[in-house]
């Protein structure tokens, strides 16, 4: 077995303020999940190693923080919602017990109080008949309900930051709409900061204030959602928006980006999108391209799209 080192994420900088929702958009393998997991040191190590950088939560650096500190922060101040609720919930424990455990891990309250709090949480995420549902096992709930339970669990300790990794991808549209509305209410009511990872522009446009677009482990564009969607500056962002069919346009041929995203072990020199880009010039494949910031927007491209 040889030792190979893959750079999954390279030099990503993100920030989110209380009450703000930041959308992270990218295709599979673009490093968006690894970025999210790195925040609380959840990347399995070995093999994953954070080779540089800092994560500051209220000014305190979490990378390299002692395990106990991270453990106290995780789930209490910074909580995660994952894509697959079946994998997050333990199949052999009742959902109420799992919720109570999440609360009691961080707060010393009695089992009875924890149970009451769990019922309130299930009500908050609009699970009908929460008092009876609390004693169900995860397999008895539908996908939408299970995802609501994992959101309830993320909210259990009233965190300041929620990192949601494709929380609605596996759900039906009507359930997705309910969950998005719920997250939106929470950030407005409680000043919750949300980092929302997705590949769906529709979802981002409805929920997020700012977005960051990732490609091959780096941020290629960043800015306020409306501005980026209206006039994308990076060719990748523009092409990606064109790929996504939008409801209400009838039968048509879709725009596609030829080629495949690069493999992390074979990143090209320079801009990783250059081999698939129609505007690529020889300079694109030479050296590092910086993330140029102008005002609220930033783009990593030598030939940015003209603003219309």
């Amino acid at each position: 077995m040889g030792t190979r080192v893959y750079r999954a994420v390279g030099g990503v900088s993100l920030s989110v303020r209380p009450g703000e929702c930041l959308g992270v958009i990218g295709e599979s393998g673009s490093g968006k999940s690894v970025t999210a997991l790195s925040v609380m040191g959840l990347v399995a190590s070995p093999p994953g190693v954070i080779t540089g950088g800092a994560v500051r939560f209220e000014g305190e650096d979490l990378i390299g923080a002692p395990y106990e500190t991270l453990r106290r922060r995780r789930g209490d101040r910074v909580a995660y919602i994952f894509q697959d609720p079946l994998a997050t919930l333990h199949p052999l424990y009742r959902i109420g017990d799992q919720l109570a455990e999440a609360i009691r891990a961080h707060h010393s309250i009695s089992a009875g109080e924890a149970r009451e709090r769990a019922i309130r949480l299930l009500n908050d995420v609009r699970i009908p008949n929460a008092g009876a549902r609390i004693d169900d096992y995860p397999h008895k709930l539908s996908g939408g309900m299970r995802q609501r339970v994992s959101i309830a669990m993320a909210l259990a300790n009233e965190p300041d930051v929620i990192i949601a990794d494709e929380p609605t991808t596996a759900l039906d549209v009507t359930v997705q709409a309910q969950i998005l509305a719920l997250l939106d209410d929470l950030r407005r009511d409680r000043g919750l900061a949300i980092i929302f990872i997705t590949h769906d522009f529709g979802v981002v446009a409805q929920l997020c204030d700012r977005i960051a677009v990732m490609y091959a482990g780096r941020i290629v564009e960043e800015g306020p959602t409306a501005a980026v969607l209206e006039a994308p500056a990076h060719p990748y962002t523009r092409r990606l928006i064109d790929c996504v069919p939008e409801l209400g346009q009838g039968k048509r041929r879709l725009e596609a980006i030829p080629g495949l995203p690069p493999m992390v072990d074979a990143l090209p020199e320079g801009c990783a999108f250059a081999p698939r880009c129609t505007k690529a010039v020889p300079d694109c494949a030479r050296g590092d391209i910086a993330l140029e910031r102008t005002g609220t927007r930033a783009v990593r491209c030598l030939m940015p799209e003209e603003s219309a």
């Binding site: 539908s142 709409a177 929920l207």
Partner: protein, 318 residues
Amino acid sequence: MPALNVDHLSKTVAQKKPLLRSAPPGVRAVQLMSFAVEKGETLGIVGESGCGKSTLARMLVGLLEPSAGHIEIAGRALNTADPAAFGRLIQYVFQDPISSLNPRKTIRQIMGAPLRHLYRMPAAERQTRIAEIFASVNLRDDFLDRYPHEFSGGQAHRIGIARALAASPEIIVLDEPVSALDVSVQAQVLNQLADLKRQFGLTYLFITHDLAVVEAVSDRIMVLYFGSVVEMGRAEQIFARPRHPYTRLLAESAPVVGRALKAPEQKGSELPDPLNPPPGCAFAGRCPLATDLCRREIPELRSMGDDQLAACHHLIPG
């Protein structure tokens, strides 16, 4: 003559009989579905999880036996006695491309199976045919001697499509063909499907839960709810001018750039319980227009003119 004709198709799944009591009534996964698909048409089938879309698809390709009703393909009744005869007419592309390919066989063996079993084609002929099919889906020949795990989702998907094409069917059932793919790859696969359809004169049944995708690829769309057809109509009309409140709910729930976020539905309303189905319209419990009539009587699918059909007592004016 339609390519596919489905008449009063139903599937009831029996429940386990308790020791001392009689067996409870079965779960009705698909209820009295009737529709026809013309040759060369793409029929989109949408609905949320549990609405019976996969059960319907499995019955169409003969993987499940219907409890009642008839399926006719190209004028002939679906006859499970000779699977090979129907394998040549209708093929299925599975949702998960990797797990639908046998991990212990090379792509060449996988591709050869339909030719060998359905057409009894000799080995030399099989190789030329496989090469032809691979060329038409833009896959390289050197993939043929590899194993399924060596491919990305998009490539495995194309192999699944190639395998379905190998049988030279008239109809291909595509079950969530792009939901596992990235958006940039999704567009490639969808465009390729459109090209293949034109090239081979295929008829598609396109099952998905993504409304924008189904609208972009279909001629007509059928909306399912709780095992029944609630609305059917032309792709460009059905979400723009829905007549059934459920179709409207779906259209309003789809995230669209530039539309403000609001919960289109109040309170956590869930699908009706299949073990204890409501007596009237299955959607009544979630419907803002529901009246007593809806809770009592199941509405029938009626024609609205303009190729649109809907099953509702209180249609939204078109």
